[in-house]
Symmetry: C2
Subunit: 457 residues, 2 copies
Amino acid sequence: MAFMPLTDSMFLLVESREHPMHVGGLQLFRKPEGAGDDYLIKLREDLRAKTEMRSAFRRKPARPVNILGYTRWVEEAEPDMDYHFRHSALPQPGRIRELLELTSRWHSTLLDRHRPLWEIHLVEGLRDDRFAMYSKVHHALLDGVAALRQLQSTLSEDPDNRDCLPPWASPAREGERDTPAARSPLVTARETLRQLGGIPSAVTKVVNEAVRQQTLTLPMQAPKTMLNVRIGGARRFAAQSWPLDRVRTVAHAAGVSRNDVVLAMCSGALRDYLIEQRALPDAPMIAMVPVSMRKRNDSGEAIGNNIGALLCNLGTDRADAADRLKVIHKSMREGKRIFKDLTPIQALLLSGVNVAQLGLSTVPGMVTNAKPPFNLVISNVPGPRKTMYWNGAELDGIYPASVLLDGQALNITLTSNGDNLDFGITGCRRSVPHLQRILTHLDTALTELEVASGVTR
Amino acid sequence: MAFMPLTDSMFLLVESREHPMHVGGLQLFRKPEGAGDDYLIKLREDLRAKTEMRSAFRRKPARPVNILGYTRWVEEAEPDMDYHFRHSALPQPGRIRELLELTSRWHSTLLDRHRPLWEIHLVEGLRDDRFAMYSKVHHALLDGVAALRQLQSTLSEDPDNRDCLPPWASPAREGERDTPAARSPLVTARETLRQLGGIPSAVTKVVNEAVRQQTLTLPMQAPKTMLNVRIGGARRFAAQSWPLDRVRTVAHAAGVSRNDVVLAMCSGALRDYLIEQRALPDAPMIAMVPVSMRKRNDSGEAIGNNIGALLCNLGTDRADAADRLKVIHKSMREGKRIFKDLTPIQALLLSGVNVAQLGLSTVPGMVTNAKPPFNLVISNVPGPRKTMYWNGAELDGIYPASVLLDGQALNITLTSNGDNLDFGITGCRRSVPHLQRILTHLDTALTELEVASGVTR
């Protein structure tokens, strides 16, 4: 079948026990009124029967003898549905806490490369009238933004719509890459070889430029913190929603953007967390804030998925919430888009991944550098604007679980969802103890911002 | 801390995504009479508080720069109990089927090497009055027999004993290796280096002798079957108990050993399964039957754990159950103990593991050989003779889940438990479809043996 673009195979190549390369999504749903005890069993049976699958969910990597190991996708003729689509349950007492604990476990394990690279859990046992779905897709198939979109594409604004598809069956949206097979194998092979040949020098160039631009041009440098260490394979995941209105009101009162307020929430929470851990650095922490530049109608080229990035001074050295918000606002306004038009490979490299396997470990600033290029990624992904439903069940929350890399033990990704902002926090279970406390600190930080901007006293 | 004996580090070295090197055990318990709804929550809390740990359960591998990568153990100061000891639940309808499906998932994932190499799940949600415990321990810590012993050592014959320990807290039995630190690091280092130096030639010699002896001396050769292929990382696990009395009665009537009857059950089941899969070989299948030669009071030496092995002709080419039993009985009686005094390393090598990493891939007969040395391992491990209890809960079943290797996609391990024989069947999820049907075929095979030996008609 199709040769794999290098942008796909990279994510397979750099994956290890310590660095699973899948993205996850935890969705919370409210059962429709009048749902019986067997609601979930029936739902599962209905979904289980939908064995039509979009191409990305049928592909698995082949292993030809090749310089880079993985360069071809093959198609699974009969995917083992009971393996991919799993029925799971929470232990007593069935709180969100138990759900997050299970999600942490699921997000920690590697996907099986001998079959299509995804798993979806339908989760029962929440003590209220809700149920959950955890989805896990390899980054080689879909990046985080595309994976969230895929989940969203299954939803409907109509609470009476009972024909919503499961994520694997939902067709690719217009402009989404789904069929690398479209081009002739020969052309694709040539293209792949061209990329392979060009990459070391190209990457070195981009990395050098970015690093030079960052360290010479920008008036800031990320301090080394407890979050910037080599990571283990186990994860911890925490999630919570905040009303969009609270953020919007602060933004309006302070004359800043909503994303500035979100970053200030994260800044306050990180400061409190690191003080608690006796690990707050003197210098302000720097966040990498990815900006998606994917074009919806991009056609043809396999690398259609561009990511830019801002470096943001989080002002974590300041005790006052209003001060921090000002620093962030200024930094975001003035900040250059230093990593512009990054391909996923370059984004990965710049995120400090260990690229020793590609012989690039000598690239300056990349591996085990004393100072990290930034302290963490904070990503704000647009989600649905209205209340959405899935086969009659109201979507209560949608929380992204991200990829971690060496040197980046914490990731905060949030998405808008109707009237809420849904935060998903992914951490290395070894390096980031008591991760769930960051949720409390986020709430405190938002309250402080409300007080500081005069919204409440 | 202690240098790791090569017998430990081998299991870390050969481990990959496709070959997780942990052994598992699934225990079924009946709740004590009068147990309330919160029985399991309380039990979990009680056990969770027992943070005293035997040394093997605190060790994790260090990663010094070394020719073989892993040669030292370090001790985890504060193990993350919520990571190791997990509370899990079955989805509806809470049958054994759901329990086996979850066990299959748990047995498929790799242990995290950044922490001690074990996980234990306390499982609620069975629809009757039972609960389960699934334990997973890396082979580098404990082999299958030792892991089963460890589970058994937590049990009591007294239903009123409420002081039973969790598996991690139970002290090592007399003669069990638990403290490689006991010897001075220098002596251990020298010892390890000696083993490292000696191994390639020693292994080649043993392997050559064994293969020559097998192919030249023995009047049988294992056919290539669908079970003798490269495996994937996902597993399927099935388990069931049979009354020891049924096996004993057949053995007595036919004048053979109980183990002969067990092997004949497996033979009949394999034949039926392979006929169903249209994959029965013309030649009779050969089982490797390990014989534990561990000495209970063995002291001092780290390699105290010897395994011998018989090759048994299963007579799967014969349609008649009585014929198969005769072939097996004869084969076991005459069979030479061809793999005598194997170290775990040698046992592994002879099991056809891919040893390319050690540069031994040219050893004849080891890797991708056309004919496997045997078709599967069938292992019968002695268990408790009486009805056992754990904090008042009666042990209803104890089912071993084993390691699979390339070329060995199926493993049958059983253990005696009071009045029952408990079978655990571990298979590669990709290569062995409908694994659970083997349970039905085992039952049919036992019934056929009862008829054939005149016990029933």
